[in-house]
């Protein structure tokens, strides 16, 4: 590890922060109204937004977590990439354009459109905050282990300080730049991340004569690894019936989670029309798909060139696979670049999550639940959003200091399970099922949210196993690590049951307005002209 040069790593990262902060300052000059702050004036093009979506979505989990999972567990790690990618088809075919046409700033706008405003918005905001919390925790955990590995900083206090600095920079992006600044950070980061992954992929393939089979063979030939098992499914989840069910549960959460992630949904409001929203998803799918193809090579490449022994004993464990591969390939300079990109990844994703959570609180809770939509100026709303962003940023720093060394891909999978359970059923029902009403929405959202969270608390992920968050205790009554298999169908069922059992009729005028608007774009929010 003596080749790791903390000064070099920090300088490259410092340069990234300096450049992006400058851009954020420039972008902030036009941030006046709520539409500017939350939706960047709806002025980004489809391709820009596609890059920003990729920047938002390709989190530390994708880069560090998946590479590590493939390096150590082989094929089973590949499932993450496939689930994360296929999930985008749900967003493309069923959600993105319809949502852009009906909503304004938040997921709550769409969910509450034809329902009773206050209860549904409150539920939507709660779900947004819960998903954002899990996702934030995952990102900050990734940050913690990176600090350990890359900055050469030992000890709790030193790490805590670095996480706090990262958190403060993130808060600056959000407070100063709003959605426009955050989007630019994500665009730049996506470009750097994909370029970095491309270089490493070509490099790894080049070492093996551009023969993927050779890379796989080398990874399997490592003496201290899992051998040929690495190339086929089952290395991690194949043990018994329960682990097999856990794998299915994870797969379900991954594929249905994306279209329910509030920070992904909010990105669709930053473009002027539904057509641009479609274009942005097409761009995002291309970029994200390409990136996940790279992770396949990078994961097995790390297994082959670094070796499972060194990865699992490195500080940060599996999350260190990609940085260690960079070190093995290009020495300290490439490591410094990849490390800076990984930090930028965390920074950009955390900023996106923070702006989403703060928008949901200010727009859904403050304006529509507390003030009941009366006499609130946009200035006030944005002020509340900024204060909320500060609070959430502080929580993220605290969470990051506490949640070190969890596998970040796994933590993100939990966030996906909560999103798929609490949000997706209601989004689909309200867009496509005429009879759906407020009771159904509330049952589905609260039922899905609480089922997912309760099952996580009583799962082996939290207690009762060696890798649990609280390894000492054992209250793991639910056998699966991922709750999706139970909580997602339950949420769909509750939405249907609540609708059928309640005497309340869906508002036919509002339903007509929502359906016509969602499909035609009539009356949709327009771009802000500056």
């Amino acid at each position: 590890m003596s080749e790791i040069n903390p000064v070099l790593n920090m300088s490259i990262f410092g340069a990234f922060v300096a450049v992006t902060l400058f851009i954020v300052f420039r972008a902030s000059r036009n941030t006046n109204t709520a539409a500017d702050y939350y939706a960047a004036g709806r002025s980004f093009t489809g391709s820009q937004n596609g890059f920003a979506i990729a920047g938002d979505y390709l989190s530390a989990a994708s880069f560090l977590g998946i590479c590590g999972a493939i390096a150590l567990n082989g094929y089973d790690g590949f499932l993450y990439s496939i689930g994360f990618l296929v999930a985008w088809l749900v967003a493309l075919l069923l959600v993105a354009e319809l949502l852009r046409n009906t909503g304004k700033f938040t997921m709550g706008d769409v969910l509450a459109f034809r329902m009773r405003q206050r209860p549904v918005r409150a539920a939507a905001a709660l779900a947004t905050l819960a998903v954002s919390f899990f996702y934030l925790l995952a990102q900050m955990a990734g940050g913690g282990s990176l600090v350990n590995l890359l900055m050469g900083i030992e000890g709790e206090v030193g790490q805590a300080i670095v996480i706090a600095v990262v958190g403060v920079v993130m808060i600056l992006y959000v407070l100063i730049g709003g959605m426009k600044g955050t989007t630019w950070v994500q665009i730049i980061k996506a470009g750097l991340l994909i370029a970095g992954a491309l270089v490493m992929t070509v490099w790894v393939l080049g070492l093996y004569g551009f023969n993927l089979s050779e890379v796989l063979g080398q990874a399997a030939a490592q003496p201290d690894g899992k051998g040929q098992d690495l190339l086929a499914p089952g290395a991690k989840y194949g043990e018994n019936t329960l682990t097999q069910l856990d794998f299915i549960s994870l797969a379900l959460a991954l594929v249905l989670g994306t279209a329910g992630l509030p920070h992904v949904l909010m990105r669709f409001y930053t473009v002027p029309t539904a057509k641009e929203a479609r274009r942005s998803v097409v761009w995002a799918i291309s970029l994200i798909g390409l990136f996940y193809l790279f992770t396949l090579v990078l994961g097995y490449g790390a297994g082959a060139l670094v070796g499972p022994e060194e990865i699992s004993t490195a500080p940060g464990g599996a999350n260190a696979a990609a940085p260690l591969l960079a070190l093995a390939l290009g020495g300290p300079l490439l490591l410094g670049f990849i490390a800076a990109v990984a930090f930028a990844t965390i920074l950009a994703v955390v900023a996106g999550l923070t702006i989403t959570a703060s928008a949901s609180f200010a727009h859904d809770v403050y304006v529509n639940v507390i003030r009941r939509g009366k006499d609130s100026s946009a200035i006030n709303e944005v002020k509340v959003a900024r204060i909320t962003a500060l609070v959430i940023g502080a929580c993220a720093i605290a969470g990051g200091i506490l949640a070190k060394n969890q596998n970040v891909a796994f933590l993100v999978a939990l966030a996906f399970a909560v999103a798929a359970s609490a949000n997706l059923p209601t989004i689909l029902y309200t867009l496509f099922w005429k009879r759906f009403n407020t009771t159904g929405a509330l049952w589905s959202m609260y039922g899905g949210l609480s089922a997912a969270i309760v099952l996580i608390i009583f799962s082996p992920a939290v207690s009762g196993s060696e890798t649990a968050m609280i390894p000492g205790a054992d209250f793991a009554l639910f056998p699966l690590s991922n709750p999706g298999l139970v909580s997602i169908p339950l949420s769909f069922l509750l939405g249907w049951l609540g609708t059928m059992l309640s005497k309340e009729k869906a508002d036919p005028d509002k339903q007509a307005e929502m359906e016509v608007r969602s499909l035609t774009g009539a009356g949709a929010e327009k771009a802000v002209a500056h």
């Binding site: 727009h363 529509n368 035609t520 929010e525």
Partner: protein, 127 residues
């Protein structure tokens, strides 16, 4: 006036007007075209993904069967998931451009035309 979500539709078409459009033949055709395309395709890719997951879980031997060198059935199946995702994305984008956008544009023009005053008012909303 600033947007809060509550007053979103003030001055826009009334509920009756929305229902009139919704009941019209053109809108029915738009909805039909969207649904006959996206629902079967969604069913297909979910089933195809599920098949992949179930094979990975319950037929690891089959997935481990070599195809060429160290490339096995599992890797090929995984890469095929990428291929279908890209193909479906392309198919939908071109279908929406050709078959959905023209009707949607026409209907939008008509709806926003009938409430012209409301539309100009709405445009000033976020300024």
């Amino acid at each position: 006036m600033t947007g809060t979500g509550y007053e979103r539709d003030v001055g826009g078409p009334s509920g009756d007007q929305w229902r009139e459009v919704q009941a019209g033949p053109e809108f029915s055709e738009l909805r039909r075209r969207l649904r006959v395309f996206v629902f079967p395709l969604t069913a297909f890719f979910l089933a195809w993904y599920l098949l992949y997951v179930l094979l990975a879980v319950y037929a690891p031997g089959f997935m481990a069967a070599p195809v060429a060198g160290n490339i096995n059935v599992g890797i090929v199946f995984g890469l095929l998931q990428f291929v279908t995702t890209f193909v479906i994305t392309g198919l939908y984008a071109s279908y929406a451009n050709r078959r959905l956008d023209p009707i949607a544009d026409r209907l939008r023009g008509r709806i926003e035309g009938t409430s012209a005053e409301a539309a100009t008012e709405g445009e000033g909303e976020d300024r």
